[in-house]
Protein backbone atom coordinates (compact mmCIF):
# COMPACT_ATOMS: atom_id res chain seq x y z
CA UNK A 1 0.00 0.00 0.00
CA UNK A 2 1.37 3.39 -0.93
CA UNK A 3 0.69 6.20 1.50
CA UNK A 4 -2.21 8.09 -0.04
CA UNK A 5 -3.56 11.26 1.56
CA UNK A 6 -6.03 10.80 4.40
CA UNK A 7 -9.64 10.94 3.19
CA UNK A 8 -11.21 10.71 6.62
CA UNK A 9 -9.46 11.46 9.91
CA UNK A 10 -11.25 10.75 13.18
CA UNK A 11 -9.61 12.09 16.36
CA UNK A 12 -10.88 11.85 19.93
CA UNK A 13 -14.45 11.30 18.81
CA UNK A 14 -16.83 10.99 21.75
CA UNK A 15 -20.58 10.56 21.49
CA UNK A 16 -23.55 10.19 23.80
CA UNK A 17 -27.11 8.91 23.73
CA UNK A 18 -28.57 11.21 26.36
CA UNK A 19 -26.55 10.54 29.51
CA UNK A 20 -24.98 7.34 28.31
CA UNK A 21 -21.64 7.59 26.53
CA UNK A 22 -21.24 5.35 23.48
CA UNK A 23 -17.90 6.59 22.09
CA UNK A 24 -14.95 7.37 24.36
CA UNK A 25 -12.37 8.77 22.01
CA UNK A 26 -12.30 7.01 18.64
CA UNK A 27 -9.10 7.56 16.63
CA UNK A 28 -8.57 6.28 13.12
CA UNK A 29 -7.60 7.32 9.63
CA UNK A 30 -8.89 6.17 6.24
CA UNK A 31 -6.85 7.01 3.18
CA UNK A 32 -8.25 7.80 -0.22
CA UNK A 33 -9.25 4.61 -2.04
CA UNK A 34 -8.80 2.40 1.00
CA UNK A 35 -11.22 -0.18 2.36
CA UNK A 36 -11.03 -0.13 6.13
CA UNK A 37 -13.16 -2.16 8.51
CA UNK A 38 -14.29 -1.46 12.01
CA UNK A 39 -14.47 -4.81 13.78
CA UNK A 40 -15.87 -5.32 17.25
CA UNK A 41 -18.35 -7.19 19.34
CA UNK A 42 -21.97 -6.18 19.93
CA UNK A 43 -22.26 -2.79 21.56
CA UNK A 44 -18.63 -1.88 20.86
CA UNK A 45 -19.60 1.41 19.25
CA UNK A 46 -19.20 0.67 15.53
CA UNK A 47 -22.65 1.88 14.52
CA UNK A 48 -22.34 4.87 16.81
CA UNK A 49 -19.09 5.78 15.08
CA UNK A 50 -20.74 5.84 11.65
CA UNK A 51 -23.78 7.68 13.01
CA UNK A 52 -21.47 10.29 14.55
CA UNK A 53 -19.54 10.75 11.32
CA UNK A 54 -22.70 11.37 9.30
CA UNK A 55 -24.16 13.53 12.05
CA UNK A 56 -27.27 11.47 12.84
CA UNK A 57 -25.83 11.12 16.34
CA UNK A 58 -25.56 14.82 17.09
CA UNK A 59 -24.31 14.68 20.67
CA UNK A 60 -20.66 14.38 19.78
CA UNK A 61 -17.31 16.07 20.36
CA UNK A 62 -13.83 15.61 18.97
CA UNK A 63 -12.78 15.91 15.37
CA UNK A 64 -13.89 14.30 12.12
CA UNK A 65 -12.06 15.74 9.13
CA UNK A 66 -13.36 14.72 5.71
CA UNK A 67 -11.44 15.92 2.64
CA UNK A 68 -9.78 18.54 4.78
CA UNK A 69 -13.00 19.86 6.31
CA UNK A 70 -14.08 19.57 9.94
CA UNK A 71 -17.59 18.09 10.09
CA UNK A 72 -18.31 17.87 13.82
CA UNK A 73 -20.78 20.68 14.33
CA UNK A 74 -22.32 20.36 10.89
CA UNK A 75 -25.83 18.97 10.45
CA UNK A 76 -26.20 15.63 8.74
CA UNK A 77 -27.62 17.09 5.51
CA UNK A 78 -24.60 19.38 5.18
CA UNK A 79 -22.23 16.47 5.86
CA UNK A 80 -23.89 14.31 3.19
CA UNK A 81 -23.44 17.11 0.70
CA UNK A 82 -19.68 17.04 1.25
CA UNK A 83 -19.75 13.61 -0.37
CA UNK A 84 -20.36 10.94 2.26
CA UNK A 85 -22.77 8.09 1.48
CA UNK A 86 -24.27 6.16 4.37
CA UNK A 87 -25.78 2.68 4.36
CA UNK A 88 -27.33 2.04 7.79
CA UNK A 89 -27.27 -1.23 9.70
CA UNK A 90 -31.06 -1.59 9.50
CA UNK A 91 -30.79 -0.81 5.75
CA UNK A 92 -33.40 1.93 5.83
CA UNK A 93 -35.36 0.89 2.77
CA UNK A 94 -38.55 2.96 2.62
CA UNK A 95 -41.75 0.92 2.53
CA UNK A 96 -43.85 3.66 0.97
CA UNK A 97 -41.39 4.10 -1.88
CA UNK A 98 -40.90 1.83 -4.85
CA UNK A 99 -37.52 0.26 -5.55
CA UNK A 100 -36.89 2.92 -8.17
CA UNK A 101 -37.88 5.73 -5.83
CA UNK A 102 -35.61 4.29 -3.14
CA UNK A 103 -32.78 4.12 -5.64
CA UNK A 104 -33.26 7.70 -6.81
CA UNK A 105 -33.95 9.16 -3.38
CA UNK A 106 -30.52 10.37 -2.22
CA UNK A 107 -29.80 13.59 -4.09
CA UNK A 108 -26.72 13.87 -6.26
CA UNK A 109 -24.15 15.82 -4.25
CA UNK A 110 -21.17 15.76 -6.60
CA UNK A 111 -20.44 14.88 -10.22
CA UNK A 112 -18.96 11.49 -11.08
CA UNK A 113 -21.55 9.22 -9.47
CA UNK A 114 -22.49 5.93 -11.12
CA UNK A 115 -25.33 5.91 -13.63
CA UNK A 116 -28.47 3.86 -13.04
CA UNK A 117 -27.38 1.54 -15.87
CA UNK A 118 -23.99 0.93 -14.23
CA UNK A 119 -25.74 0.30 -10.93
CA UNK A 120 -28.03 -2.25 -12.59
CA UNK A 121 -24.99 -3.99 -14.10
CA UNK A 122 -23.56 -4.27 -10.60
CA UNK A 123 -26.87 -5.40 -9.06
CA UNK A 124 -28.75 -7.31 -11.79
CA UNK A 125 -31.41 -8.34 -9.23
CA UNK A 126 -32.61 -4.75 -8.97
CA UNK A 127 -33.17 -4.40 -12.68
CA UNK A 128 -36.86 -4.73 -13.63
CA UNK A 129 -37.93 -4.51 -9.99
CA UNK A 130 -38.38 -0.75 -10.21
CA UNK A 131 -42.09 -0.62 -9.40
CA UNK A 132 -42.00 -3.09 -6.51
CA UNK A 133 -42.44 -1.52 -3.07
CA UNK A 134 -38.98 -1.28 -1.49
CA UNK A 135 -39.65 -3.56 1.45
CA UNK A 136 -41.17 -6.31 -0.73
CA UNK A 137 -37.64 -7.23 -1.83
CA UNK A 138 -35.81 -10.06 -0.08
CA UNK A 139 -33.37 -9.16 2.69
CA UNK A 140 -30.41 -9.56 0.39
CA UNK A 141 -31.99 -7.45 -2.33
CA UNK A 142 -32.84 -4.75 0.19
CA UNK A 143 -29.20 -4.71 1.26
CA UNK A 144 -28.12 -4.39 -2.37
CA UNK A 145 -30.58 -1.52 -2.82
CA UNK A 146 -29.29 0.20 0.30
CA UNK A 147 -25.78 0.11 -1.13
CA UNK A 148 -26.88 0.85 -4.70
CA UNK A 149 -28.68 4.08 -3.86
CA UNK A 150 -25.58 5.78 -2.44
CA UNK A 151 -23.50 5.05 -5.54
CA UNK A 152 -25.40 7.49 -7.72
CA UNK A 153 -24.80 10.52 -5.58
CA UNK A 154 -21.18 11.20 -6.38
CA UNK A 155 -20.16 10.52 -2.77
CA UNK A 156 -16.55 9.29 -2.65
CA UNK A 157 -16.64 7.92 0.88
CA UNK A 158 -19.06 5.10 1.64
CA UNK A 159 -19.93 4.09 5.19
CA UNK A 160 -21.42 0.60 5.20
CA UNK A 161 -22.81 -0.80 8.44
CA UNK A 162 -22.74 -4.63 8.52
CA UNK A 163 -23.93 -5.19 4.96
CA UNK A 164 -23.63 -8.97 5.36
CA UNK A 165 -25.57 -9.27 8.61
CA UNK A 166 -28.14 -12.05 8.55
CA UNK A 167 -27.66 -12.90 4.87
CA UNK A 168 -27.13 -16.27 3.20
CA UNK A 169 -23.54 -17.22 2.23
CA UNK A 170 -24.11 -16.79 -1.52
CA UNK A 171 -25.38 -13.28 -0.96
CA UNK A 172 -22.50 -12.47 1.35
CA UNK A 173 -20.21 -13.61 -1.44
CA UNK A 174 -22.02 -11.42 -3.96
CA UNK A 175 -21.68 -8.41 -1.67
CA UNK A 176 -17.98 -9.17 -1.36
CA UNK A 177 -17.72 -9.02 -5.17
CA UNK A 178 -19.53 -5.71 -5.21
CA UNK A 179 -17.19 -4.24 -2.62
CA UNK A 180 -14.16 -5.29 -4.67
CA UNK A 181 -15.65 -3.60 -7.75
CA UNK A 182 -16.33 -0.46 -5.76
CA UNK A 183 -12.77 -0.42 -4.49
CA UNK A 184 -11.53 -0.75 -8.07
CA UNK A 185 -13.67 2.20 -9.01
CA UNK A 186 -11.79 4.21 -6.41
CA UNK A 187 -14.40 4.53 -3.66
CA UNK A 188 -13.09 4.91 -0.13
CA UNK A 189 -15.01 2.53 2.12
CA UNK A 190 -15.46 2.22 5.85
CA UNK A 191 -17.01 -1.17 6.47
CA UNK A 192 -18.44 -2.20 9.81
CA UNK A 193 -18.25 -5.95 10.29
CA UNK A 194 -18.50 -8.60 12.95
CA UNK A 195 -17.37 -11.31 10.60
CA UNK A 196 -13.61 -10.85 10.31
CA UNK A 197 -13.26 -13.71 7.82
CA UNK A 198 -15.46 -11.81 5.40
CA UNK A 199 -13.69 -8.56 6.26
CA UNK A 200 -10.34 -10.13 5.38
CA UNK A 201 -11.57 -10.86 1.85
CA UNK A 202 -12.25 -7.23 1.01
CA UNK A 203 -10.34 -4.86 3.30
CA UNK A 204 -6.87 -3.29 3.34
CA UNK A 205 -6.80 -2.55 7.05
CA UNK A 206 -8.81 -3.23 10.16
CA UNK A 207 -9.51 -1.37 13.36
CA UNK A 208 -10.80 -3.29 16.34
CA UNK A 209 -13.29 -1.30 18.39
CA UNK A 210 -14.20 -2.01 22.01
CA UNK A 211 -15.88 0.13 24.64
CA UNK A 212 -16.17 3.07 22.28
CA UNK A 213 -12.44 3.20 21.40
CA UNK A 214 -10.06 1.70 18.88
CA UNK A 215 -8.12 -0.99 20.74
CA UNK A 216 -6.07 -2.44 17.88
CA UNK A 217 -5.13 -1.76 14.30
CA UNK A 218 -3.87 -4.31 11.79
CA UNK A 219 -3.27 -4.61 8.09
CA UNK A 220 -4.94 -7.38 6.19
CA UNK A 221 -1.61 -9.22 5.96
CA UNK A 222 -1.33 -9.36 9.73
CA UNK A 223 -4.77 -10.77 10.29
CA UNK A 224 -3.79 -14.41 9.83
CA UNK A 225 -0.89 -14.15 12.27
CA UNK A 226 -2.93 -12.30 14.87
CA UNK A 227 -6.06 -14.43 14.60
CA UNK A 228 -6.07 -15.64 18.19
CA UNK A 229 -5.62 -12.14 19.56
CA UNK A 230 -8.40 -10.94 17.25
CA UNK A 231 -10.78 -13.72 18.30
CA UNK A 232 -10.28 -12.81 21.94
CA UNK A 233 -10.98 -9.15 21.24
CA UNK A 234 -14.08 -9.95 19.22
CA UNK A 235 -15.27 -12.52 21.73
CA UNK A 236 -15.76 -15.26 19.15
Amino acid sequence: MTEAEPHLTVRGLQAWYGESQALRGMDFVVRRGEVVTLLGRNGAGKTSTLRSIVGILRQRTGSVVFEGRETVGLKSNAIARLGIGYCPEERGIFASLTVEENLLLPPVVAPGGMTVAEIHDLFPNLRSRGRTPGTKLSGGEQQMLAIARILRTGARLLLLDEPTEGLAPVIVKAIGEVLRVLKQRGFTIVLVEQNFRFAATVADRHYVVDGGRVVAEMTNHEIAARQDELKTMLGV
Partner: protein
Protein backbone atom coordinates in the same frame (compact mmCIF):
# COMPACT_ATOMS: atom_id res chain seq x y z
CA UNK B 1 -89.99 14.74 -11.89
CA UNK B 2 -89.96 11.24 -10.44
CA UNK B 3 -89.74 9.62 -7.06
CA UNK B 4 -87.04 7.58 -5.37
CA UNK B 5 -87.49 4.90 -2.79
CA UNK B 6 -85.04 4.72 0.11
CA UNK B 7 -85.52 2.29 2.98
CA UNK B 8 -89.16 1.71 2.06
CA UNK B 9 -90.08 5.38 1.87
CA UNK B 10 -90.58 7.42 -1.28
CA UNK B 11 -88.95 10.75 -1.81
CA UNK B 12 -89.17 13.45 -4.42
CA UNK B 13 -86.20 13.09 -6.78
CA UNK B 14 -85.55 16.83 -6.77
CA UNK B 15 -85.17 16.78 -3.00
CA UNK B 16 -82.82 13.79 -3.10
CA UNK B 17 -80.60 15.11 -5.88
CA UNK B 18 -80.67 18.59 -4.42
CA UNK B 19 -79.38 17.32 -1.09
CA UNK B 20 -76.85 15.06 -2.75
CA UNK B 21 -75.53 18.04 -4.67
CA UNK B 22 -75.28 20.12 -1.51
CA UNK B 23 -73.55 17.13 0.02
CA UNK B 24 -71.13 17.01 -2.89
CA UNK B 25 -70.32 20.71 -2.44
CA UNK B 26 -69.82 20.33 1.30
CA UNK B 27 -67.82 17.20 0.53
CA UNK B 28 -65.58 19.23 -1.76
CA UNK B 29 -64.64 21.40 1.17
CA UNK B 30 -64.29 18.45 3.55
CA UNK B 31 -61.97 16.80 1.03
CA UNK B 32 -59.79 19.87 0.43
CA UNK B 33 -59.49 20.58 4.13
CA UNK B 34 -58.95 17.05 5.35
CA UNK B 35 -56.37 16.63 2.59
CA UNK B 36 -54.29 19.43 4.13
CA UNK B 37 -54.76 18.00 7.61
CA UNK B 38 -53.66 14.59 6.34
CA UNK B 39 -50.57 15.99 4.61
CA UNK B 40 -49.56 17.84 7.76
CA UNK B 41 -50.29 14.92 10.07
CA UNK B 42 -48.51 12.46 7.79
CA UNK B 43 -45.30 14.47 7.74
CA UNK B 44 -45.20 16.46 10.96
CA UNK B 45 -47.24 14.20 13.24
CA UNK B 46 -49.11 17.33 14.28
CA UNK B 47 -52.91 17.30 14.46
CA UNK B 48 -53.39 20.77 13.01
CA UNK B 49 -56.42 22.09 14.82
CA UNK B 50 -55.61 25.54 13.43
CA UNK B 51 -56.75 24.31 10.02
CA UNK B 52 -60.25 25.77 10.38
CA UNK B 53 -58.84 29.16 11.36
CA UNK B 54 -56.43 29.01 8.41
CA UNK B 55 -59.35 28.26 6.10
CA UNK B 56 -61.16 31.26 7.60
CA UNK B 57 -58.04 33.38 7.07
CA UNK B 58 -58.06 32.47 3.39
CA UNK B 59 -61.61 33.77 3.09
CA UNK B 60 -60.77 36.89 5.10
CA UNK B 61 -57.69 37.66 3.05
CA UNK B 62 -59.77 37.35 -0.12
CA UNK B 63 -62.39 39.63 1.39
CA UNK B 64 -59.75 42.15 2.51
CA UNK B 65 -58.08 42.13 -0.92
CA UNK B 66 -61.44 42.86 -2.52
CA UNK B 67 -62.08 45.69 -0.07
CA UNK B 68 -58.61 47.26 0.02
CA UNK B 69 -59.87 50.71 -1.06
CA UNK B 70 -62.45 50.76 1.75
CA UNK B 71 -60.05 49.32 4.35
CA UNK B 72 -57.28 51.82 3.49
CA UNK B 73 -59.07 54.87 2.14
CA UNK B 74 -56.84 57.33 0.39
CA UNK B 75 -54.03 54.81 -0.05
CA UNK B 76 -54.87 54.35 -3.68
CA UNK B 77 -54.77 50.55 -3.30
CA UNK B 78 -56.80 48.71 -5.93
CA UNK B 79 -59.56 46.24 -5.24
CA UNK B 80 -58.23 42.74 -5.93
CA UNK B 81 -60.87 40.35 -7.16
CA UNK B 82 -61.58 36.63 -6.95
CA UNK B 83 -59.18 35.27 -9.57
CA UNK B 84 -55.98 36.93 -8.33
CA UNK B 85 -57.10 36.14 -4.78
CA UNK B 86 -57.32 32.48 -5.66
CA UNK B 87 -53.51 32.60 -5.93
CA UNK B 88 -52.62 35.50 -3.63
CA UNK B 89 -54.65 34.54 -0.58
CA UNK B 90 -53.29 30.96 -0.33
CA UNK B 91 -49.77 32.34 -0.76
CA UNK B 92 -50.32 34.89 2.01
CA UNK B 93 -51.92 32.32 4.31
CA UNK B 94 -49.17 29.84 3.42
CA UNK B 95 -46.49 32.36 4.40
CA UNK B 96 -48.29 32.96 7.68
CA UNK B 97 -48.29 29.17 8.11
CA UNK B 98 -44.56 29.06 7.43
CA UNK B 99 -43.95 31.65 10.14
CA UNK B 100 -46.26 29.75 12.50
CA UNK B 101 -44.24 26.58 11.97
CA UNK B 102 -40.94 28.38 12.55
CA UNK B 103 -42.02 30.28 15.63
CA UNK B 104 -44.37 27.84 17.34
CA UNK B 105 -44.99 24.43 15.88
CA UNK B 106 -41.44 23.16 15.53
CA UNK B 107 -41.06 23.48 19.30
CA UNK B 108 -43.57 20.72 19.97
CA UNK B 109 -42.42 18.04 17.48
CA UNK B 110 -40.58 16.13 20.17
CA UNK B 111 -43.29 16.51 22.79
CA UNK B 112 -46.45 14.53 23.42
CA UNK B 113 -49.26 14.91 20.84
CA UNK B 114 -51.31 16.80 23.41
CA UNK B 115 -48.98 19.79 23.09
CA UNK B 116 -49.48 20.05 19.35
CA UNK B 117 -53.21 19.83 19.88
CA UNK B 118 -53.24 22.52 22.56
CA UNK B 119 -50.88 24.77 20.62
CA UNK B 120 -52.80 24.69 17.35
CA UNK B 121 -56.20 24.98 18.99
CA UNK B 122 -54.88 27.90 21.07
CA UNK B 123 -53.54 29.67 17.98
CA UNK B 124 -56.86 29.15 16.23
CA UNK B 125 -58.84 30.60 19.14
CA UNK B 126 -56.52 33.59 19.29
CA UNK B 127 -56.85 34.42 15.61
CA UNK B 128 -60.60 33.82 15.60
CA UNK B 129 -61.02 35.90 18.75
CA UNK B 130 -59.02 38.84 17.39
CA UNK B 131 -60.97 38.88 14.16
CA UNK B 132 -64.19 38.64 16.14
CA UNK B 133 -63.25 41.79 18.06
CA UNK B 134 -62.64 43.66 14.83
CA UNK B 135 -65.41 42.29 12.62
CA UNK B 136 -68.03 40.77 14.94
CA UNK B 137 -69.83 37.58 14.09
CA UNK B 138 -72.12 38.84 11.35
CA UNK B 139 -70.88 37.39 8.07
CA UNK B 140 -69.20 39.68 5.57
CA UNK B 141 -70.55 39.30 2.06
CA UNK B 142 -68.33 38.19 -0.82
CA UNK B 143 -70.00 38.31 -4.20
CA UNK B 144 -69.95 35.50 -6.71
CA UNK B 145 -67.38 36.28 -9.42
CA UNK B 146 -69.21 37.61 -12.47
CA UNK B 147 -68.01 34.77 -14.73
CA UNK B 148 -69.98 32.40 -12.51
CA UNK B 149 -73.24 34.28 -12.18
CA UNK B 150 -75.94 32.04 -13.55
CA UNK B 151 -77.18 28.50 -13.16
CA UNK B 152 -77.37 25.24 -15.04
CA UNK B 153 -80.85 23.84 -15.33
CA UNK B 154 -80.32 20.14 -14.71
CA UNK B 155 -84.01 19.36 -15.18
CA UNK B 156 -84.54 18.15 -11.65
CA UNK B 157 -82.80 21.14 -10.09
CA UNK B 158 -80.78 24.30 -10.68
CA UNK B 159 -77.03 24.20 -10.19
CA UNK B 160 -75.33 27.58 -9.84
CA UNK B 161 -72.23 27.82 -12.04
CA UNK B 162 -70.12 28.78 -9.08
CA UNK B 163 -70.99 25.62 -7.15
CA UNK B 164 -70.23 23.48 -10.17
CA UNK B 165 -66.86 25.23 -10.37
CA UNK B 166 -66.18 24.47 -6.70
CA UNK B 167 -66.80 20.76 -7.25
CA UNK B 168 -64.58 20.63 -10.33
CA UNK B 169 -61.80 22.76 -8.82
CA UNK B 170 -61.81 20.72 -5.64
CA UNK B 171 -61.43 17.48 -7.57
CA UNK B 172 -58.53 19.01 -9.53
CA UNK B 173 -56.86 20.29 -6.36
CA UNK B 174 -57.23 16.97 -4.57
CA UNK B 175 -55.97 14.97 -7.53
CA UNK B 176 -53.09 17.40 -8.08
CA UNK B 177 -51.99 17.13 -4.47
CA UNK B 178 -52.25 13.37 -4.58
CA UNK B 179 -50.09 13.31 -7.73
CA UNK B 180 -47.54 15.64 -6.12
CA UNK B 181 -47.16 13.36 -3.14
CA UNK B 182 -47.45 9.94 -4.74
CA UNK B 183 -45.81 10.47 -8.10
CA UNK B 184 -43.07 13.10 -7.87
CA UNK B 185 -39.57 13.21 -6.52
CA UNK B 186 -40.57 15.85 -4.00
CA UNK B 187 -43.37 13.56 -2.88
CA UNK B 188 -40.89 10.70 -2.50
CA UNK B 189 -38.84 12.88 -0.14
CA UNK B 190 -41.97 13.64 1.84
CA UNK B 191 -43.02 10.00 2.08
CA UNK B 192 -39.51 8.89 2.98
CA UNK B 193 -39.18 11.59 5.64
CA UNK B 194 -42.47 10.44 7.13
CA UNK B 195 -40.90 7.01 7.65
CA UNK B 196 -37.37 7.93 8.66
CA UNK B 197 -36.55 11.65 8.82
CA UNK B 198 -33.05 11.10 10.24
CA UNK B 199 -31.97 8.98 7.31
CA UNK B 200 -33.48 11.32 4.72
CA UNK B 201 -31.54 14.15 6.30
CA UNK B 202 -28.37 12.05 6.31
CA UNK B 203 -28.82 11.74 2.53
CA UNK B 204 -28.49 15.51 2.25
CA UNK B 205 -32.07 16.79 2.49
CA UNK B 206 -32.79 19.72 4.80
CA UNK B 207 -35.65 17.98 6.59
CA UNK B 208 -36.55 20.83 8.98
CA UNK B 209 -36.98 23.14 6.02
CA UNK B 210 -39.03 20.51 4.22
CA UNK B 211 -41.30 20.19 7.27
CA UNK B 212 -41.80 23.95 7.27
CA UNK B 213 -42.70 23.96 3.58
CA UNK B 214 -45.03 21.00 4.04
CA UNK B 215 -46.86 22.82 6.79
CA UNK B 216 -47.04 25.87 4.54
CA UNK B 217 -48.46 23.72 1.73
CA UNK B 218 -51.14 22.23 3.98
CA UNK B 219 -52.04 25.66 5.31
CA UNK B 220 -52.12 27.15 1.82
CA UNK B 221 -54.60 24.43 0.83
CA UNK B 222 -56.80 25.54 3.74
CA UNK B 223 -56.46 29.14 2.56
CA UNK B 224 -57.42 28.15 -0.97
CA UNK B 225 -60.50 26.33 0.30
CA UNK B 226 -61.34 29.48 2.25
CA UNK B 227 -61.22 31.68 -0.85
CA UNK B 228 -63.43 29.21 -2.68
CA UNK B 229 -65.85 29.16 0.23
CA UNK B 230 -66.17 32.94 0.49
CA UNK B 231 -68.86 33.36 -2.19
CA UNK B 232 -70.88 30.38 -0.88
CA UNK B 233 -70.75 30.70 2.88
CA UNK B 234 -70.34 34.12 4.40
CA UNK B 235 -66.94 35.30 5.55
CA UNK B 236 -66.94 35.26 9.34
CA UNK B 237 -64.42 34.57 12.10
CA UNK B 238 -66.30 31.41 13.12
CA UNK B 239 -66.63 29.86 9.68
CA UNK B 240 -63.77 27.43 10.38
CA UNK B 241 -64.86 26.44 13.87
CA UNK B 242 -67.92 24.67 12.56
CA UNK B 243 -65.89 22.75 10.04
CA UNK B 244 -62.75 21.72 11.87
CA UNK B 245 -64.37 19.01 13.98
CA UNK B 246 -66.05 17.47 10.93
CA UNK B 247 -62.75 17.67 9.06
CA UNK B 248 -60.97 15.73 11.79
CA UNK B 249 -63.73 13.12 11.77
CA UNK B 250 -63.20 12.82 8.00
CA UNK B 251 -59.45 12.42 8.46
CA UNK B 252 -59.96 9.73 11.10
CA UNK B 253 -62.44 7.91 8.87
CA UNK B 254 -60.08 8.10 5.88
CA UNK B 255 -57.16 6.91 7.98
CA UNK B 256 -54.95 9.41 9.84
CA UNK B 257 -52.39 10.69 7.38
CA UNK B 258 -53.75 8.86 4.32
CA UNK B 259 -54.00 11.34 1.45
CA UNK B 260 -56.30 9.27 -0.72
CA UNK B 261 -58.34 8.22 2.31
CA UNK B 262 -59.06 11.79 3.29
CA UNK B 263 -60.06 12.77 -0.24
CA UNK B 264 -62.40 9.82 -0.71
CA UNK B 265 -63.95 10.07 2.73
CA UNK B 266 -64.36 13.84 2.34
CA UNK B 267 -66.59 13.45 -0.69
CA UNK B 268 -68.24 10.30 0.68
CA UNK B 269 -69.21 11.90 3.96
CA UNK B 270 -70.51 15.00 2.24
CA UNK B 271 -72.83 12.72 0.25
CA UNK B 272 -73.82 10.68 3.29
CA UNK B 273 -74.62 13.86 5.16
CA UNK B 274 -76.72 15.10 2.23
CA UNK B 275 -78.62 11.83 2.03
CA UNK B 276 -79.30 11.92 5.74
CA UNK B 277 -80.87 15.34 5.31
CA UNK B 278 -83.46 13.69 3.06
CA UNK B 279 -84.05 10.54 5.03
CA UNK B 280 -83.74 11.75 8.60
CA UNK B 281 -83.02 15.50 8.76
CA UNK B 282 -82.39 15.71 12.53
CA UNK B 283 -79.58 13.16 12.13
CA UNK B 284 -77.67 15.12 9.52
CA UNK B 285 -75.40 16.92 11.99
CA UNK B 286 -74.40 13.75 13.81
CA UNK B 287 -74.28 11.17 11.03
CA UNK B 288 -70.59 11.82 10.34
CA UNK B 289 -69.69 11.12 13.96
CA UNK B 290 -71.83 8.00 14.07
CA UNK B 291 -70.02 6.86 10.94
CA UNK B 292 -66.68 7.67 12.57
CA UNK B 293 -67.57 5.60 15.62
CA UNK B 294 -68.58 2.65 13.42
CA UNK B 295 -65.39 2.88 11.38
CA UNK B 296 -63.25 3.05 14.50
CA UNK B 297 -64.96 -0.10 15.80
CA UNK B 298 -64.72 -2.06 12.56
CA UNK B 299 -61.48 -0.70 11.12
CA UNK B 300 -59.51 1.37 13.63
CA UNK B 301 -56.86 2.36 11.07
CA UNK B 302 -59.54 4.07 8.96
CA UNK B 303 -60.81 3.28 5.47
CA UNK B 304 -57.41 3.57 3.80
CA UNK B 305 -55.01 3.84 6.69
CA UNK B 306 -51.99 1.60 6.92
CA UNK B 307 -51.81 -0.57 9.97
Amino acid sequence: MFTIEILGKTYNSAAVFGQLLIGLINGSFYAMLSLGVAVIFGMLRIANFAHGAQYMLGAFVAWALLNLPELFPGSGLPSIGYWPSLILAPVIVGVVGMATERIFIRRVYDLDHAYGFLLTIGLAMMVEGLLHVRFGSAGLPYGTPKEFQGTFNLGFMFLPYYRAWVIVASIIICFGTWLLIERTRLGAYLRAATENPELVQAFGIDVPRMLMLTYALGVALAGLAGVMAAPIYQVSPQMGQNLIIIVFAVVVIGGMGSILGSIVSGFLLGLIEGLTKVVYPPGSTTVIFVFMALILLARPQGLMGRT
